[in-house]
């Protein structure tokens, strides 16, 4: 129940933030709008208001509208180091792709993630991380005609 209240508080604050800051700043409303309901910010204001209402309900009566959980533990034991490593690998691929192409970062990603998940057979790790990105790049380049940035592998596909 405490957790639901906290979530309710976060939702309420986020909703109010949207109403007071995000919508007025982020939505350009022309001065010649004749009807309020046709204004570009009308719909977002309604949505944000519903969001705030849901937050307030969770804050005031967290248990009333909730079906009891099946007993499965929510993911409290998230291992921070593993999460940081994982996000580091994922966003690393995003940062590295413009320089190296998609294939090499993808190879490193598959290698890193399989290792992170506990795969320690080096032969399997290396084959998997080399073969799968190359196969996908080949599919998208040749069959789907999508220009995948190949980086150092550009010369192979010509």
């Amino acid at each position: 129940m405490r957790e639901s209240r906290l979530i309710g508080l976060v939702i309420t604050v986020l909703g109010l933030l949207a109403l007071v800051v995000l919508i007025p700043v982020g939505i350009v409303t022309p001065s010649n709008v004749e009807r309020l309901a046709l204004a570009p910010d009308f719909w977002p204001n309604i949505i944000a208001s519903v969001f705030v209402m849901m937050g307030i309900i969770l804050l005031i009566a967290p248990a009333r509208y909730e079906v009891p959980s099946s007993g499965e533990q929510p993911y409290r034991s998230a291992h921070a180091t593993r999460l940081v490593l994982l996000l580091g690998i994922l966003f690393g691929v995003y940062v590295a792709t413009p320089r190296l192409g998609l294939v090499v970062p993808a190879m490193l990603m598959v290698f890193g993630l399989s290792w992170l998940a506990g795969e320690r057979r080096w032969k399997r790790l290396i084959i998997l991380s080399f073969a799968s990105p190359i196969a996908l790049a080949a599919f998208f380049t040749y069959i789907a005609s999508v220009p995948i940035p190949l980086g150092v592998f550009e010369f192979i596909y010509g």
């Binding site: 969770l58 009891p68 099946s70 291992h79 593993r82 994922l90 691929v93 399989s114």
Partner: protein
């Protein structure tokens, strides 16, 4: 009509289309059989591969995955007591005890026969009813569509998991993300903040993959979940005609329950499977055997589960509104291919609809072939350890997302949506309402604003026609029933 049918046959019967439905069913059965991978996740991963295909081919591939996924969930439910899909959890009740008794082969066969029969009945209902519904919907204008979409948003109550409030909050978030881009009436910026990549709004696929595939993968890597257990051997003899005859009543009843519940937005396969199962138990002569390994229980659960497959396509094709998460994804696929399901599609592109019908009917046959001849292969693939499987799934997400517009911005959106999805998962916020609202949001807003423009700002246009009033009543009734139903049927709310 015959001309259209001949055109449709020409449109469908290409070597590629005939094979693609088979490939879809096989992929779906594999995805469904892997615990931890859901059918929406499978459809999401396959979607980027359909970009360069013809619309019929691409949509049939997705439909194949959908149908295969519904059946595939039962394989691991029977063999290792791990349902691949929520709907298959009902199959566990009698399927796994049969495996323990050494009759796994019989249970798998019966699951297959019931699935194929129910799928066929459901497909027939789609073919018979969608056209009739679409012809009625031809009279719809923006106010009618607004109230219809509002009604279809009530499915959020059915996919909200254990908290309706969190489901509505999640849907609000989806609606807000759908607002990003240029305003359709005034052309002004909405939440662009100087980033011109956002002018066309957020692409559907990065949002879809981010919400449905990434959180599960992040959870696996963060929690270091255990790899899956090996399947029990498929022992015993198969189910024969006598077994099918004995269970036929339950299969037929389950199929009809599936059709009835599938056509109503927001209910889905799990409630249908449980209702079909409970009806079979109530009326069966072997009711004491239910839960201890009764073949009729497997048949009823699978018939109820697969009976929804074609029926959920009725509101999608006829009215353009999705009945569940997967049909919402398929609606997105239609849009990506420049098509808008609904009554006008029946007028403007009827040959495409007929071609889809042919493919859908063929998928029932393929389901049988896949189930009969590749079940050993599927159960083997389902044993691939997650430490190998998930990095490859992530690779598919990466390439698939990049392929949409050939830019890394979509990849960034996918990663950020994945983080959001993971946070939502931690806080037990359901993702399906977000996605459904994200897809339906622009339609709802556009029809609302078009109605106001038509009426010169008068809100009464939304209450003027009998169709609008009917949908307002249906919306209210649906909300009341769904909310009350949630209080009583906890297992059905997931």
């Amino acid at each position: 009509m015959y001309e259209n049918l001949i055109q449709a046959i020409g449109l469908f019967f290409t070597f590629q289309n005939v094979l693609i439905v088979l490939a879809g069913v096989l992929i779906g059965a594999i995805v469904g059989a892997i615990p931890g991978m859901s059918t929406p996740m499978g459809v999401a991963l396959v979607l980027p591969f359909t970009f360069t295909m013809e619309p019929v081919t691409g949509i049939l591939l997705l439909l194949g995955v959908y149908k295969g996924g519904l059946y595939g969930g039962s394989i691991t439910a029977i063999l290792i007591k791990a349902p691949g899909t929520p709907a298959a959890s009902c199959t566990v009740l009698d399927g796994y005890p049969l495996t323990q008794k050494g009759q796994a082969r019989k249970a798998l066969d019966m699951a297959l026969y019931a699935s194929c029969f129910a799928d066929f009945v459901s497909n027939m209902s789609l073919i018979l009813l969608a056209g009739i519904l679409a012809s009625l919907a031809l009279k719809f204008g923006p106010p009618e569509f607004f109230t219809l979409i509002l009604f279809s948003l009530t499915i959020i109550a059915g996919v909200s998991g254990d908290s309706l409030v969190k489901g509505i909050a999640s849907a609000s978030l989806g609606l807000m993300f759908a607002v990003i881009g240029l305003d359709t009436v005034y052309g002004t910026n909405r939440f662009l903040f100087g980033n011109w990549n956002l002018m066309g709004g957020l692409s559907f696929i990065p949002v879809l993959i981010g919400l449905f595939a990434l959180p599960e993968i992040i959870r696996f890597f963060v929690n270091g979940a255990a790899d899956r257990v090996k399947s029990a051997a498929m022992r015993g003899g198969g189910a024969g005609l006598a077994d099918f005859k004995r269970c036929f009543k339950s299969i037929l009843r389950g199929s009809l329950i599936g059709v009835g519940l599938g056509a109503i937005p927001g209910i889905g396969g799990a409630p249908s499977a449980f209702l079909s199962y409970s009806e079979a138990r109530r009326t069966s002569r072997n009711r004491d055997g239910f839960g201890k390994g009764e073949l009729e229980g497997v048949a009823a659960a699978e018939a109820g589960n697969n009976g929804v497959a074609g029926a959920t396509m009725i509101p999608l094709l006829a009215l353009g509104v999705p009945g569940d998460v997967i049909t919402a994804i398929i609606l997105g696929a239609f849009m990506i291919h420049g098509l808008r399901p609904g009554p006008l599609l029946f007028v403007e592109n009827i040959s495409l609809i007929y071609a889809l019908f042919i493919g859908i009917m063929l998928s029932s046959l393929y389901l049988f072939i896949v189930g009969k001849f590749t079940i050993r292969l599927i159960s083997r693939i389902a044993e691939v350890p997650n430490r190998i499987l998930y990095p490859i799934v992530l690779l598919l997400c990466l390439f698939g997302t990049f392929a949409i517009n050939n830019n890394m911005f979509d990849v960034l959106v996918m990663l950020l949506m994945g983080c959001l999805g993971y946070v939502m998962m931690l806080c037990r916020f359901p993702a399906p309402p977000f996605l459904i609202a994200f897809i339906l949001g622009p339609l709802l807003e556009d029809n609302f604003r078009q109605s106001l423009i038509l009426s010169d700002g008068g809100i009464d246009i939304l209450f003027r026609s009998p169709i609008c009033i009917l949908f307002w009543i249906l919306t209210v009734v649906s909300v009341v029933f769904l909310v009350n139903g949630r209080r009583r049927t906890i297992p059905f709310s997931a």
